[in-house]
Protein backbone atom coordinates (compact mmCIF):
# COMPACT_ATOMS: atom_id res chain seq x y z
CA UNK A 1 0.00 0.00 0.00
CA UNK A 2 2.72 2.45 0.99
CA UNK A 3 4.70 1.56 -2.13
CA UNK A 4 1.64 2.37 -4.16
CA UNK A 5 1.28 5.79 -2.54
CA UNK A 6 4.92 6.65 -3.02
CA UNK A 7 4.78 5.82 -6.71
CA UNK A 8 2.07 8.48 -7.28
CA UNK A 9 3.37 11.84 -8.44
CA UNK A 10 1.44 14.97 -7.46
CA UNK A 11 0.31 15.35 -11.06
CA UNK A 12 -1.10 11.84 -11.07
CA UNK A 13 -2.75 12.59 -7.78
CA UNK A 14 -4.59 15.47 -9.43
CA UNK A 15 -5.26 14.01 -12.87
CA UNK A 16 -5.92 10.35 -12.21
CA UNK A 17 -9.37 10.87 -10.61
CA UNK A 18 -10.42 12.99 -13.59
CA UNK A 19 -10.41 9.91 -15.83
CA UNK A 20 -13.54 8.76 -14.04
CA UNK A 21 -16.88 10.20 -15.00
CA UNK A 22 -18.25 10.13 -11.44
CA UNK A 23 -15.20 11.98 -10.09
CA UNK A 24 -15.43 14.78 -12.64
CA UNK A 25 -19.07 15.15 -11.70
CA UNK A 26 -18.35 15.03 -7.97
CA UNK A 27 -15.59 17.61 -8.22
CA UNK A 28 -17.68 20.01 -10.27
CA UNK A 29 -20.73 19.72 -8.02
CA UNK A 30 -18.70 19.99 -4.81
CA UNK A 31 -16.78 23.05 -5.95
CA UNK A 32 -19.98 24.75 -7.12
CA UNK A 33 -21.89 23.90 -3.97
CA UNK A 34 -18.89 25.00 -1.92
CA UNK A 35 -18.95 28.34 -3.72
CA UNK A 36 -22.67 28.85 -3.19
CA UNK A 37 -22.55 27.98 0.50
CA UNK A 38 -19.35 30.01 0.92
CA UNK A 39 -21.02 33.10 -0.54
CA UNK A 40 -24.06 32.74 1.71
CA UNK A 41 -21.89 32.00 4.76
CA UNK A 42 -20.69 35.62 4.73
CA UNK A 43 -24.22 36.81 5.39
CA UNK A 44 -24.87 34.08 7.97
CA UNK A 45 -21.80 34.94 10.04
CA UNK A 46 -22.28 38.71 9.79
CA UNK A 47 -25.99 38.55 10.60
CA UNK A 48 -25.33 36.17 13.50
CA UNK A 49 -27.48 33.46 11.99
CA UNK A 50 -25.23 30.46 12.64
CA UNK A 51 -27.81 28.81 14.86
CA UNK A 52 -30.53 29.66 12.36
CA UNK A 53 -28.44 27.99 9.64
CA UNK A 54 -28.11 24.90 11.78
CA UNK A 55 -31.85 24.87 12.42
CA UNK A 56 -32.96 25.35 8.83
CA UNK A 57 -30.49 22.82 7.43
CA UNK A 58 -31.82 20.15 9.80
CA UNK A 59 -35.44 21.14 9.36
CA UNK A 60 -35.38 20.53 5.59
CA UNK A 61 -34.99 16.78 6.21
CA UNK A 62 -38.70 15.79 6.29
CA UNK A 63 -39.26 17.96 3.23
CA UNK A 64 -36.59 16.09 1.29
CA UNK A 65 -38.05 12.72 2.31
CA UNK A 66 -41.64 13.67 1.42
CA UNK A 67 -40.54 15.15 -1.90
CA UNK A 68 -38.62 11.98 -2.80
CA UNK A 69 -41.57 9.80 -1.86
CA UNK A 70 -43.99 11.87 -3.97
CA UNK A 71 -41.58 12.11 -6.88
CA UNK A 72 -41.31 15.89 -6.59
CA UNK A 73 -38.06 17.86 -6.82
CA UNK A 74 -36.41 17.55 -3.39
CA UNK A 75 -35.67 21.28 -3.44
CA UNK A 76 -39.38 22.03 -3.29
CA UNK A 77 -39.93 19.92 -0.18
CA UNK A 78 -36.82 21.33 1.47
CA UNK A 79 -37.90 24.86 0.71
CA UNK A 80 -41.36 24.39 2.21
CA UNK A 81 -40.04 22.83 5.41
CA UNK A 82 -37.06 25.19 5.70
CA UNK A 83 -39.18 28.33 5.55
CA UNK A 84 -41.94 26.60 7.54
CA UNK A 85 -39.56 25.85 10.39
CA UNK A 86 -38.52 29.50 10.59
CA UNK A 87 -42.13 30.65 10.56
CA UNK A 88 -42.88 28.18 13.35
CA UNK A 89 -39.88 29.40 15.36
CA UNK A 90 -41.13 32.96 15.01
CA UNK A 91 -44.68 31.97 15.97
CA UNK A 92 -43.69 30.03 19.11
CA UNK A 93 -41.32 32.77 20.19
CA UNK A 94 -44.01 35.40 19.85
CA UNK A 95 -46.75 33.40 21.56
CA UNK A 96 -44.82 31.98 24.50
CA UNK A 97 -42.31 33.08 27.11
CA UNK A 98 -39.61 30.68 25.87
CA UNK A 99 -36.31 32.22 24.79
CA UNK A 100 -35.37 32.18 21.13
CA UNK A 101 -32.38 29.80 21.25
CA UNK A 102 -34.51 27.25 23.10
CA UNK A 103 -37.28 27.57 20.52
CA UNK A 104 -34.79 27.13 17.67
CA UNK A 105 -33.31 23.99 19.24
CA UNK A 106 -36.76 22.63 19.97
CA UNK A 107 -38.19 23.16 16.49
CA UNK A 108 -35.28 21.92 14.43
CA UNK A 109 -34.79 18.71 16.40
CA UNK A 110 -38.52 18.08 16.12
CA UNK A 111 -38.41 18.49 12.34
CA UNK A 112 -35.26 16.39 12.11
CA UNK A 113 -36.84 13.59 14.14
CA UNK A 114 -39.91 13.72 11.89
CA UNK A 115 -37.60 13.29 8.91
CA UNK A 116 -35.92 10.23 10.40
CA UNK A 117 -39.26 8.65 11.27
CA UNK A 118 -40.56 9.32 7.77
CA UNK A 119 -37.51 7.71 6.18
CA UNK A 120 -37.98 4.54 8.20
CA UNK A 121 -41.71 4.44 7.53
CA UNK A 122 -41.98 5.37 3.85
CA UNK A 123 -40.93 2.41 1.77
CA UNK A 124 -38.87 3.78 -1.05
CA UNK A 125 -35.35 3.77 -2.30
CA UNK A 126 -34.30 6.72 -0.13
CA UNK A 127 -30.98 6.06 1.50
CA UNK A 128 -30.92 7.60 4.97
CA UNK A 129 -27.14 7.54 5.04
CA UNK A 130 -27.02 9.48 1.78
CA UNK A 131 -29.20 12.26 3.21
CA UNK A 132 -27.39 12.36 6.52
CA UNK A 133 -23.83 12.24 5.22
CA UNK A 134 -24.10 13.19 1.55
CA UNK A 135 -22.46 11.33 -1.31
CA UNK A 136 -21.07 13.53 -4.04
CA UNK A 137 -19.29 10.52 -5.54
CA UNK A 138 -22.60 8.79 -6.15
CA UNK A 139 -24.65 11.77 -7.27
CA UNK A 140 -27.14 11.01 -10.05
CA UNK A 141 -27.47 12.93 -13.31
CA UNK A 142 -30.91 14.22 -12.29
CA UNK A 143 -29.58 15.51 -8.97
CA UNK A 144 -26.69 17.22 -10.74
CA UNK A 145 -29.12 19.09 -12.93
CA UNK A 146 -31.22 20.21 -9.99
CA UNK A 147 -28.16 21.23 -8.01
CA UNK A 148 -26.90 23.30 -10.94
CA UNK A 149 -30.22 25.11 -11.32
CA UNK A 150 -30.60 25.91 -7.62
CA UNK A 151 -26.98 26.98 -7.32
CA UNK A 152 -27.23 29.45 -10.16
CA UNK A 153 -30.52 30.83 -8.84
CA UNK A 154 -28.95 31.39 -5.40
CA UNK A 155 -25.80 32.97 -6.86
CA UNK A 156 -27.85 35.22 -9.13
CA UNK A 157 -30.08 36.49 -6.31
CA UNK A 158 -27.16 36.95 -3.92
CA UNK A 159 -25.23 38.97 -6.49
CA UNK A 160 -28.27 41.03 -7.44
CA UNK A 161 -29.16 41.94 -3.87
CA UNK A 162 -25.71 41.80 -2.34
CA UNK A 163 -25.62 45.45 -1.29
CA UNK A 164 -29.17 45.44 0.08
CA UNK A 165 -28.50 42.26 2.03
CA UNK A 166 -25.20 43.63 3.29
CA UNK A 167 -26.94 46.80 4.45
CA UNK A 168 -29.68 44.69 6.06
CA UNK A 169 -27.06 42.74 8.02
CA UNK A 170 -25.15 45.88 9.02
CA UNK A 171 -27.92 48.37 9.85
CA UNK A 172 -31.48 47.19 9.24
CA UNK A 173 -32.93 50.36 10.76
CA UNK A 174 -31.17 52.56 8.23
CA UNK A 175 -32.30 50.24 5.44
CA UNK A 176 -35.89 50.72 6.59
CA UNK A 177 -35.55 54.46 7.00
CA UNK A 178 -34.49 54.88 3.37
CA UNK A 179 -37.53 52.96 2.18
CA UNK A 180 -36.04 49.47 1.67
CA UNK A 181 -38.45 46.66 2.56
CA UNK A 182 -36.45 44.75 5.18
CA UNK A 183 -39.24 42.21 5.69
CA UNK A 184 -38.76 40.99 2.14
CA UNK A 185 -34.97 40.90 2.61
CA UNK A 186 -35.40 38.83 5.78
CA UNK A 187 -37.45 36.18 4.02
CA UNK A 188 -35.26 36.36 0.93
CA UNK A 189 -32.23 35.51 3.07
CA UNK A 190 -34.13 32.66 4.73
CA UNK A 191 -35.19 31.30 1.35
CA UNK A 192 -31.61 31.41 0.11
CA UNK A 193 -30.56 29.64 3.31
CA UNK A 194 -33.07 26.82 2.70
CA UNK A 195 -31.98 26.45 -0.92
CA UNK A 196 -28.29 26.44 0.01
CA UNK A 197 -28.94 23.85 2.69
CA UNK A 198 -30.51 21.65 0.00
CA UNK A 199 -27.57 21.86 -2.37
CA UNK A 200 -25.15 21.59 0.54
CA UNK A 201 -26.64 18.33 1.72
CA UNK A 202 -25.77 16.84 -1.68
CA UNK A 203 -22.10 17.01 -0.85
CA UNK A 204 -21.69 16.86 2.93
CA UNK A 205 -25.13 15.69 4.10
CA UNK A 206 -27.63 17.26 6.46
CA UNK A 207 -25.59 16.84 9.62
CA UNK A 208 -22.56 18.72 8.35
CA UNK A 209 -24.15 21.21 5.99
CA UNK A 210 -24.15 23.91 8.63
CA UNK A 211 -20.35 23.87 8.49
CA UNK A 212 -20.54 24.83 4.82
CA UNK A 213 -22.82 27.71 5.81
CA UNK A 214 -20.59 29.08 8.57
CA UNK A 215 -16.94 28.08 8.34
CA UNK A 216 -15.92 29.79 5.06
CA UNK A 217 -17.50 33.06 6.20
CA UNK A 218 -15.79 32.86 9.59
CA UNK A 219 -12.42 32.14 7.95
CA UNK A 220 -12.77 35.05 5.52
CA UNK A 221 -13.92 37.35 8.33
CA UNK A 222 -10.56 36.84 10.06
CA UNK A 223 -8.66 37.78 6.92
CA UNK A 224 -10.16 41.09 5.78
CA UNK A 225 -11.98 44.27 6.73
CA UNK A 226 -13.77 44.61 3.41
CA UNK A 227 -17.06 42.98 2.58
CA UNK A 228 -16.35 42.32 -1.10
CA UNK A 229 -12.98 40.75 -0.31
CA UNK A 230 -14.62 38.68 2.41
CA UNK A 231 -17.11 37.18 -0.06
CA UNK A 232 -14.35 36.38 -2.57
CA UNK A 233 -12.16 34.77 0.10
CA UNK A 234 -15.09 32.75 1.44
CA UNK A 235 -16.06 31.47 -2.02
CA UNK A 236 -12.48 30.59 -2.96
CA UNK A 237 -11.66 28.84 0.33
CA UNK A 238 -14.97 26.99 0.31
CA UNK A 239 -14.68 25.78 -3.30
CA UNK A 240 -11.06 24.84 -2.77
CA UNK A 241 -11.72 22.85 0.39
CA UNK A 242 -14.68 21.09 -1.22
CA UNK A 243 -12.59 19.97 -4.20
CA UNK A 244 -9.61 19.03 -2.03
CA UNK A 245 -11.94 17.13 0.29
CA UNK A 246 -13.23 15.09 -2.63
CA UNK A 247 -9.67 14.29 -3.77
CA UNK A 248 -8.61 13.20 -0.30
CA UNK A 249 -11.76 11.14 0.01
CA UNK A 250 -10.99 9.44 -3.32
CA UNK A 251 -7.38 8.58 -2.55
CA UNK A 252 -7.75 7.53 1.06
CA UNK A 253 -11.25 6.06 0.88
CA UNK A 254 -12.79 8.15 3.65
CA UNK A 255 -16.26 9.67 3.97
CA UNK A 256 -16.43 12.61 1.52
CA UNK A 257 -18.59 14.94 3.64
CA UNK A 258 -16.35 14.57 6.66
CA UNK A 259 -13.28 15.07 4.54
CA UNK A 260 -14.59 18.32 3.01
CA UNK A 261 -15.59 19.80 6.35
CA UNK A 262 -12.28 18.77 7.96
CA UNK A 263 -10.34 20.59 5.24
CA UNK A 264 -12.53 23.67 5.82
CA UNK A 265 -11.94 23.49 9.56
CA UNK A 266 -8.20 23.16 8.98
CA UNK A 267 -8.17 26.27 6.80
CA UNK A 268 -10.11 28.10 9.50
CA UNK A 269 -7.55 27.04 12.12
CA UNK A 270 -4.70 28.32 9.95
CA UNK A 271 -6.50 31.66 9.60
CA UNK A 272 -7.25 31.68 13.32
CA UNK A 273 -3.56 31.25 14.13
CA UNK A 274 -1.84 33.18 11.36
CA UNK A 275 -4.29 35.77 9.97
CA UNK A 276 -2.19 38.93 9.43
CA UNK A 277 -4.37 41.20 11.56
CA UNK A 278 -6.78 39.06 13.56
CA UNK A 279 -4.83 35.82 14.06
CA UNK A 280 -3.40 34.64 17.37
CA UNK A 281 0.13 35.17 16.04
CA UNK A 282 -0.76 38.41 14.31
CA UNK A 283 1.76 40.64 12.69
CA UNK A 284 2.10 43.42 15.28
CA UNK A 285 3.66 45.88 12.84
CA UNK A 286 0.62 45.63 10.57
CA UNK A 287 -1.68 46.81 13.32
CA UNK A 288 0.52 49.64 14.48
CA UNK A 289 0.97 50.98 10.99
CA UNK A 290 -2.70 50.89 10.16
Amino acid sequence: MSELLISITPLDWLLDPLTHDFMRRALMVSALVGGVCGLLSCYMTLKGWALMGDAVSHAVMPGVVVAYALGLPFSLGAFVFGVGSVALIGFIKQKSRIKEDTVIGLVFTGFFALGIVLVSKIKSNIDLMQILFGSPLGISQADVKQTLIISFVVIFILLLFRKDLMLYCFDAKHARSIGINTGILHYLLLTLLSLSAVVGLQTVGIILVVAMLITPGATAYLLTDRFDRMTILAVVSSSFSSALGVYISYWSDIETGGSIVLVQTLIFLIAFLFAPKYGIFKNQSLINND
Binding site: L160, K163, D164, F170, A175, R176, T224, R226, M230
Partner: protein
Amino acid sequence: MNPIFKSHEKDFMRIEADQVCVDYNGTVALYDASLNLKAGSICGLVGMNGAGKSTFFKALMGFVRPSRGKIRINGIKVNQAQKEQSVAYVPQNEGIDYSFPVSVWDVVMMGRYGGMNIFRIPRESDRRAVFHALERVDLLDLRERPIGSLSGGQRKRAFLARAIAQRASVLLLDEPFSGVDVPTEKLMAELFLQFRQEGHTILISTHDLNHVRDFCDFVVLINKTVLAYGETSEVFTSENLNKTFGGIPPNPLSGPESSKDFVNE
Protein backbone atom coordinates in the same frame (compact mmCIF):
# COMPACT_ATOMS: atom_id res chain seq x y z
CA MET B 1 -38.74 68.70 -6.02
CA ASN B 2 -36.31 68.68 -3.18
CA PRO B 3 -38.26 69.34 0.03
CA ILE B 4 -35.28 71.16 1.53
CA PHE B 5 -36.00 74.13 -0.72
CA LYS B 6 -39.49 74.47 0.70
CA SER B 7 -37.75 75.68 3.84
CA HIS B 8 -37.99 79.23 2.56
CA GLU B 9 -41.71 79.02 3.10
CA LYS B 10 -41.46 80.21 6.63
CA ASP B 11 -43.87 77.94 8.43
CA PHE B 12 -43.46 74.76 6.46
CA MET B 13 -44.07 71.84 8.80
CA ARG B 14 -41.49 69.11 8.59
CA ILE B 15 -42.90 66.85 11.29
CA GLU B 16 -46.57 66.71 12.23
CA ALA B 17 -47.81 64.20 14.78
CA ASP B 18 -51.47 64.41 15.67
CA GLN B 19 -52.77 62.56 18.75
CA VAL B 20 -50.58 59.54 18.15
CA CYS B 21 -51.32 56.43 20.20
CA VAL B 22 -49.17 53.30 20.16
CA ASP B 23 -49.84 50.10 22.01
CA TYR B 24 -48.02 46.80 22.08
CA ASN B 25 -50.41 43.85 22.44
CA GLY B 26 -52.89 45.93 24.43
CA THR B 27 -50.31 47.72 26.62
CA VAL B 28 -50.37 51.45 26.01
CA ALA B 29 -46.87 52.79 25.36
CA LEU B 30 -47.87 56.24 24.16
CA TYR B 31 -51.15 58.15 23.99
CA ASP B 32 -52.31 61.42 22.44
CA ALA B 33 -48.81 62.52 21.52
CA SER B 34 -48.93 65.59 19.32
CA LEU B 35 -46.03 67.54 17.92
CA ASN B 36 -45.43 70.07 15.15
CA LEU B 37 -41.92 70.93 14.04
CA LYS B 38 -41.16 73.65 11.53
CA ALA B 39 -38.42 73.61 8.93
CA GLY B 40 -35.17 74.81 10.44
CA SER B 41 -35.59 73.76 14.03
CA ILE B 42 -33.72 71.59 16.49
CA CYS B 43 -35.84 69.73 18.98
CA GLY B 44 -34.94 67.52 21.93
CA LEU B 45 -37.11 64.58 22.84
CA VAL B 46 -36.64 64.01 26.55
CA GLY B 47 -37.98 61.34 28.84
CA MET B 48 -37.05 58.42 31.05
CA ASN B 49 -36.34 54.96 29.69
CA GLY B 50 -39.66 53.23 29.17
CA ALA B 51 -41.56 56.53 29.09
CA GLY B 52 -42.47 56.09 25.46
CA LYS B 53 -39.62 58.19 24.10
CA SER B 54 -38.23 55.50 21.84
CA THR B 55 -41.76 54.42 20.92
CA PHE B 56 -42.49 57.94 19.70
CA PHE B 57 -39.22 57.88 17.81
CA LYS B 58 -40.06 54.55 16.21
CA ALA B 59 -43.50 55.81 15.23
CA LEU B 60 -41.94 58.85 13.55
CA MET B 61 -39.63 56.51 11.64
CA GLY B 62 -42.51 54.26 10.65
CA PHE B 63 -41.15 51.27 12.59
CA VAL B 64 -44.31 50.92 14.67
CA ARG B 65 -47.78 51.67 13.40
CA PRO B 66 -49.85 54.01 15.60
CA SER B 67 -53.12 52.48 16.71
CA ARG B 68 -54.65 55.94 16.47
CA GLY B 69 -53.63 59.38 15.25
CA LYS B 70 -51.55 60.29 12.24
CA ILE B 71 -48.01 61.30 11.42
CA ARG B 72 -46.86 63.37 8.45
CA ILE B 73 -43.31 64.14 7.37
CA ASN B 74 -43.02 67.06 4.95
CA GLY B 75 -46.79 66.82 4.64
CA ILE B 76 -46.84 63.22 3.39
CA LYS B 77 -47.04 59.78 5.00
CA VAL B 78 -43.92 58.46 6.74
CA ASN B 79 -43.24 55.56 4.36
CA GLN B 80 -43.75 57.90 1.42
CA ALA B 81 -41.30 60.40 2.88
CA GLN B 82 -38.78 57.59 3.42
CA LYS B 83 -39.02 56.59 -0.22
CA GLU B 84 -38.21 60.20 -1.11
CA GLN B 85 -35.10 59.96 1.10
CA SER B 86 -36.44 62.72 3.37
CA VAL B 87 -35.73 60.97 6.66
CA ALA B 88 -32.25 60.13 7.91
CA TYR B 89 -31.66 58.11 11.02
CA VAL B 90 -28.45 58.40 13.03
CA PRO B 91 -28.22 55.33 15.28
CA GLN B 92 -26.89 55.01 18.81
CA ASN B 93 -23.25 53.92 18.86
CA GLU B 94 -24.32 50.85 20.85
CA GLY B 95 -26.73 49.70 18.16
CA ILE B 96 -24.07 49.00 15.53
CA ASP B 97 -21.79 46.00 14.98
CA TYR B 98 -18.41 47.71 14.64
CA SER B 99 -16.57 44.56 13.65
CA PHE B 100 -18.52 44.55 10.39
CA PRO B 101 -16.13 44.53 7.43
CA VAL B 102 -16.95 47.93 5.92
CA SER B 103 -14.87 51.08 5.49
CA VAL B 104 -15.90 54.57 6.55
CA TRP B 105 -16.48 55.37 2.87
CA ASP B 106 -18.75 52.31 2.52
CA VAL B 107 -20.85 53.38 5.51
CA VAL B 108 -21.37 56.91 4.20
CA MET B 109 -22.18 55.52 0.74
CA MET B 110 -25.06 53.59 2.36
CA GLY B 111 -26.78 56.96 2.72
CA ARG B 112 -27.00 57.07 -1.08
CA TYR B 113 -28.47 53.57 -1.61
CA GLY B 114 -32.07 54.73 -1.56
CA GLY B 115 -31.52 56.96 -4.57
CA MET B 116 -29.64 54.36 -6.61
CA ASN B 117 -31.06 51.76 -8.99
CA ILE B 118 -31.57 48.14 -7.92
CA PHE B 119 -27.90 47.21 -8.43
CA ARG B 120 -26.82 50.02 -6.08
CA ILE B 121 -23.97 51.06 -8.33
CA PRO B 122 -22.66 54.47 -7.24
CA ARG B 123 -22.63 57.22 -9.86
CA GLU B 124 -20.31 60.18 -9.96
CA SER B 125 -22.90 62.29 -8.11
CA ASP B 126 -23.06 59.68 -5.33
CA ARG B 127 -19.29 59.70 -4.93
CA ARG B 128 -19.27 63.48 -4.84
CA ALA B 129 -21.99 63.55 -2.16
CA VAL B 130 -20.05 61.06 -0.03
CA PHE B 131 -16.84 63.02 -0.48
CA HIS B 132 -18.46 66.30 0.59
CA ALA B 133 -20.23 64.68 3.53
CA LEU B 134 -16.92 63.25 4.78
CA GLU B 135 -15.32 66.65 4.31
CA ARG B 136 -18.02 68.31 6.43
CA VAL B 137 -17.47 65.96 9.36
CA ASP B 138 -13.69 66.08 8.95
CA LEU B 139 -13.22 62.38 8.25
CA LEU B 140 -11.87 62.56 4.72
CA ASP B 141 -8.42 61.32 5.75
CA LEU B 142 -9.88 58.27 7.47
CA ARG B 143 -12.23 57.23 4.65
CA GLU B 144 -10.35 54.01 3.80
CA ARG B 145 -10.26 52.84 7.42
CA PRO B 146 -12.50 50.04 8.66
CA ILE B 147 -15.38 51.55 10.64
CA GLY B 148 -14.37 49.57 13.72
CA SER B 149 -10.95 51.24 13.96
CA LEU B 150 -12.55 54.64 14.64
CA SER B 151 -13.01 56.24 18.06
CA GLY B 152 -16.49 56.78 19.51
CA GLY B 153 -16.62 60.38 18.33
CA GLN B 154 -15.35 59.53 14.86
CA ARG B 155 -17.94 56.77 14.54
CA LYS B 156 -20.68 59.23 15.39
CA ARG B 157 -19.33 61.61 12.76
CA ALA B 158 -19.30 58.82 10.17
CA PHE B 159 -23.01 58.20 10.72
CA LEU B 160 -23.72 61.94 10.63
CA ALA B 161 -21.90 62.00 7.29
CA ARG B 162 -24.18 59.22 6.10
CA ALA B 163 -27.20 61.37 6.95
CA ILE B 164 -25.61 64.36 5.19
CA ALA B 165 -24.88 62.28 2.09
CA GLN B 166 -28.51 61.19 2.07
CA ARG B 167 -29.54 64.88 1.79
CA ALA B 168 -32.52 64.24 4.04
CA SER B 169 -34.53 67.17 5.33
CA VAL B 170 -35.47 65.46 8.60
CA LEU B 171 -32.75 64.04 10.85
CA LEU B 172 -33.58 61.71 13.72
CA LEU B 173 -30.74 61.20 16.17
CA ASP B 174 -30.79 58.57 18.90
CA GLU B 175 -28.66 59.49 21.94
CA PRO B 176 -26.12 61.38 19.82
CA PHE B 177 -24.05 62.65 22.74
CA SER B 178 -23.14 59.38 24.42
CA GLY B 179 -19.48 58.45 24.13
CA VAL B 180 -18.61 61.54 22.10
CA ASP B 181 -15.34 63.45 22.55
CA VAL B 182 -15.03 67.25 22.81
CA PRO B 183 -13.91 67.93 19.19
CA THR B 184 -16.82 65.88 17.89
CA GLU B 185 -19.22 67.71 20.16
CA LYS B 186 -17.99 71.06 18.85
CA LEU B 187 -18.30 69.82 15.29
CA MET B 188 -21.82 68.56 15.97
CA ALA B 189 -22.82 71.94 17.40
CA GLU B 190 -21.58 73.70 14.26
CA LEU B 191 -23.21 71.15 11.96
CA PHE B 192 -26.56 71.42 13.73
CA LEU B 193 -26.56 75.19 13.32
CA GLN B 194 -25.72 74.81 9.62
CA PHE B 195 -28.49 72.23 9.23
CA ARG B 196 -30.95 74.59 10.83
CA GLN B 197 -29.96 77.40 8.46
CA GLU B 198 -30.33 75.04 5.53
CA GLY B 199 -33.89 74.37 6.64
CA HIS B 200 -33.41 70.88 8.04
CA THR B 201 -35.33 69.75 11.07
CA ILE B 202 -33.45 67.79 13.70
CA LEU B 203 -35.08 65.67 16.37
CA ILE B 204 -32.78 64.42 19.11
CA SER B 205 -33.87 61.66 21.46
CA THR B 206 -31.87 61.82 24.67
CA HIS B 207 -31.91 61.79 28.44
CA ASP B 208 -28.95 64.15 28.61
CA LEU B 209 -30.48 67.42 29.82
CA ASN B 210 -27.32 69.51 29.62
CA HIS B 211 -26.94 68.89 25.94
CA VAL B 212 -30.60 69.59 25.29
CA ARG B 213 -30.15 73.01 26.87
CA ASP B 214 -27.06 73.70 24.74
CA PHE B 215 -28.26 72.37 21.40
CA CYS B 216 -32.04 72.52 21.14
CA ASP B 217 -34.43 75.35 20.30
CA PHE B 218 -37.42 73.27 21.29
CA VAL B 219 -38.03 70.53 23.81
CA VAL B 220 -40.65 67.82 24.01
CA LEU B 221 -41.03 66.22 27.43
CA ILE B 222 -42.43 62.71 27.27
CA ASN B 223 -44.00 60.53 29.89
CA LYS B 224 -46.47 58.22 28.15
CA THR B 225 -47.70 61.34 26.36
CA VAL B 226 -46.37 64.80 25.52
CA LEU B 227 -46.23 66.51 28.94
CA ALA B 228 -44.87 69.80 27.70
CA TYR B 229 -43.70 71.15 24.40
CA GLY B 230 -42.25 74.48 23.40
CA GLU B 231 -39.15 76.64 23.41
CA THR B 232 -36.40 75.21 25.55
CA SER B 233 -36.19 78.20 27.91
CA GLU B 234 -39.92 78.04 28.65
CA VAL B 235 -40.36 74.30 28.94
CA PHE B 236 -37.27 73.50 30.97
CA THR B 237 -38.71 74.33 34.36
CA SER B 238 -38.03 72.22 37.39
CA GLU B 239 -41.75 71.57 37.71
CA ASN B 240 -41.97 70.14 34.18
CA LEU B 241 -38.82 68.10 34.66
CA ASN B 242 -40.19 66.74 37.90
CA LYS B 243 -43.29 65.60 36.08
CA THR B 244 -41.21 64.04 33.33
CA PHE B 245 -38.91 62.14 35.63
CA GLY B 246 -41.43 61.49 38.36
CA GLY B 247 -39.32 63.31 40.95
CA ILE B 248 -36.35 61.05 40.36
CA PRO B 249 -33.19 62.79 39.19
CA PRO B 250 -32.20 61.24 35.83
CA ASN B 251 -28.55 61.76 36.66
CA PRO B 252 -26.74 63.54 39.45
CA LEU B 253 -25.25 66.27 37.24
CA SER B 254 -28.25 67.41 35.29
CA GLY B 255 -31.28 66.11 37.15
CA PRO B 256 -34.27 68.12 38.37
CA GLU B 257 -32.34 69.35 41.42
CA SER B 258 -29.94 71.33 39.31
CA SER B 259 -32.39 72.18 36.60
CA LYS B 260 -33.16 75.57 38.15
CA ASP B 261 -29.63 76.68 37.46
CA PHE B 262 -29.85 76.40 33.76
CA VAL B 263 -33.41 77.59 33.47
CA ASN B 264 -32.43 80.89 35.04
CA GLU B 265 -29.42 81.38 32.83
